[in-house]
């Protein structure tokens, strides 16, 4: 998938702040996050646990409240208090795929209820028979057999359960899907199945993805653009290939060096780069969001910018 053909902005995050707790125990999960997601693309958000990536995803779904800044969907503000009409629209148009297939399905409900649950909410006009038909179709769309509708989740493997979760999100025909580490809990061989499925669905239906993960190797394959987040701050943002071939921020470099390659000789010779936040000295110069290369932005101070660009030229 090459860069987005249309530059229509679907989702915009502006100066977003999310803080847990109050007073002395306040914890800044996300600080001054700024990015834009274009229609039809796959936007990757990569970072370690605790970096705030899942928090942003859940804030977009309005599961978590924000403490500052705005999230704009099709130009409309969706965080904070919103009208019921907008709420209904968003429920249909923005959906989420969860990380853990073992806990994201209701064990005591049949697959037909789980997948059809969203339809009951956004399309109350459908008769049960029509709903059942749509459920069958949704299961086929994700590569499962329609007769699975009458079974319970525990009868399925992790990969199949994840696909049931995808069917559940798809059935309301969303335009934007937040995929929160959808493959981290799956076996290697099953990851490929799910990734292929997500790509096909995007091609067929023009869905926009916010793909959240901690693994750059997956990101490189599936994303058009990638943002790197660390401790609540977005450090780097660029097109996927650009980010992977010309990483500028030391954190991005450390993420790249950690990707395991199935090549023993190369792996044995590899030196692991460990990122130490203490290497930044922001006491004098506060970091700014700067464009250092074409379509490639980094959060850094002026001196760092020069230093990192130099390093990149040389390597």
């Amino acid at each position: 998938m090459t860069g987005p053909a249309e530059k229509e902005v679907l989702l915009e995050v502006k100066d977003l702040n999310i803080t847990y707790g109050t007073g002395r125990r306040a914890y800044d999960a996300v600080q001054q996050a700024n990015f834009v997601i274009y229609k039809g693309e796959t936007f990757g958000l990569v970072g370690e646990s605790g970096s705030g990536k899942t928090t942003i995803g859940r804030a977009i779904l309005r599961i978590l409240p924000t403490s500052g800044g705005e999230i704009l969907y099709k130009g409309q503000k969706i965080n904070g208090r919103i009208s019921r009409a907008l709420d209904k629209q968003l429920t249909k148009e923005i959906q989420m795929i969860f990380q853990d297939p073992q806990s994201s399905l209701n064990e005591r409900a049949k697959v037909s209820y789980i997948v059809g649950e969203g339809l009951q909410n956004v399309r109350p006009d459908l008769s049960p028979a029509q709903r059942e038909e749509k459920v069958r179709q949704a299961l086929l769309d994700v590569g499962l057999l329609p007769e699975f509708a009458s079974r319970f989740p525990h009868e399925f493997s992790g990969g199949q359960r994840q696909r049931i979760g995808i069917a559940r999100a798809l059935i309301v025909e969303p335009e934007f899907i937040v995929a929160d580490e959808p493959i981290s809990a799956l076996d290697m061989s099953i990851r490929a199945q799910v990734l292929n499925l997500l790509r096909h669905l995007q091609k067929e239906r023009g869905i926009t993805y916010l793909f959240i993960a901690h693994d750059l190797s997956v990101m490189r394959y599936i994303s058009d653009r990638i943002a790197v987040i660390h401790r609540g701050r977005i450090l780097e943002l660029a097109d996927a290939e650009e980010l992977v071939t010309h990483p500028l921020h030391p954190y991005t470099r450390s993420l790249l060096s950690a990707i395991p390659m199935p090549d023993p000789r190369r792996e044995r010779q590899k030196t692991l780069l460990v990122y130490d936040p203490a290497i930044h000295d922001y006491s004098v110069e506060t970091p700014q969001w700067r464009q250092l290369r074409p379509r490639h932005w980094v959060l850094c101070s002026g001196s760092e910018a020069a230093q990192w660009l130099n390093q990149e030229e040389r390597s």
Partner: protein, 343 residues
């Protein structure tokens, strides 16, 4: 029964899979060597087909329960006893529990007749009432009280507990309510109620449920807190499911086994409370026989060796019912735990 049917179904599915697998390969076993080493032709459907699992939660729960012979025996005995308690008046030749029987020949009351004599199966008490009839009537009363207490506690307790656990704003209110209720001893409540209104079955039920529901509510609230923020509930919120349906379809099904355990334990507790209250003289009056009354009466004549039967029989029934409910409740709770479903 259901699990048996499911077993048949899954076995049939597996047989179908086996035949599918055989239709190709069975024939191939006969092939000459050089033909064996040719490509088999790939069928994607064969790759995706999985046998259906024979696991059903309730099926496994009941199977685990029925493996516990003691619990099953007690259950059968308990059902027999309870059924008998309610059917006893319909049997022929039963005496009125309140009737002070008088010997038609001599005109003297049948007082303290020993068990087995003069047609009194379990003897009679000091004013000539048939103990057999009284005990069964008492069992009926006590069981009715206990049953209603359990139901009221369950209904009110679950509703309150769900609201308490799920709606974050109500947490403070309910916690304070709980702190107030928890500090008032049940005995005081019962005593107060006995003073305010004449003790009857309904006041007793009221008195016991007033405190009981808050315990159930707290228990349910704790369980809800545990499962409230699991991914599948968050997912339901994301797709717009209203709170009511989340509670009924996502949360309560997980709590059924816990609720049943608590109800099973509420019943002996209620009977015990009733016995206690009657024991201290604030319970039901003598006209309404209850196990508490009977135990109390029996206590009065306990010291005379010949009359100990008046304490023995009510106590036997009381103990049996209490122990049976308790053990069955615990056995069921163990069986409902998915970790015990392996065998």
């Amino acid at each position: 029964m259901l699990s048996f049917l499911k077993n048949i179904r899954s076995r049939r599915l597996e047989q179908q899979l086996d035949t599918l697998q055989q239709q190709g390969p069975a024939a191939w076993a006969q092939l000459p060597e050089n033909e064996l080493f040719t490509p088999a032709g790939f069928q994607p459907q064969q790759a995706e087909a999985t046998a259906s699992s024979n696991y059903s939660y309730w099926g496994s729960t009941f199977r685990a329960f029925f493996k516990n012979r003691l619990a099953v025996a007690l259950l059968i005995a308990l059902i027999a006893v309870v059924a008998f308690a309610f059917l006893q008046p319909c049997l022929p030749g039963q005496k009125d529990p309140n009737l002070c029987a008088v010997d038609p020949v001599t005109g003297i009351q049948y007082r303290n007749i020993a068990p087995g004599q003069d047609g009194f199966v379990w003897g009679s008490n000091s004013i000539g009432q048939d103990l057999w009839a009284r005990i069964w009537a008492g069992a009926r009363t006590s069981l009715t009280i206990a049953f209603f207490v359990a139901v009221v506690e369950a209904v009110v307790g679950i509703t309150a507990g769900v609201l308490w656990g799920y709606v974050r704003g109500l947490d403070f209110l309910f916690t304070e309510l709980y702190n107030i209720f928890d500090n008032i001893p049940t005995a005081i409540v019962l005593i107060l109620i006995s003073y305010v209104a004449t003790p009857s079955i309904w006041t007793m039920i009221l008195g016991m449920s007033i405190k009981g529901w808050i315990e159930m509510a707290r228990f349910i609230r704790n369980q809800i807190l545990i499962i409230r923020d699991r991914d599948y509930n968050v997912a339901s919120r994301c797709i717009g499911t209203p709170t009511f349906r989340i509670v009924v379809r996502n949360l309560l099904p997980y709590l059924v086994s816990v609720i049943m355990l608590r109800m099973a334990l509420t019943i002996p507790e209620a009977i015990g409370n009733e016995v206690f209250i009657t024991y201290i003289g604030l319970g039901l009056s003598v006209e309404t026989p209850s196990l508490g009354n009977l135990v109390n009466d029996g206590r009065k004549v306990m010291m005379q060796a010949g009359l100990r039967y008046q304490l023995l029989y009510p106590t036997l029934i009381l103990s049996f019912v209490t122990i049976a409910f308790y053990l069955i409740g615990n056995a069921f709770s163990d069986a409902a735990d998915p970790k015990n479903h392996l065998q």
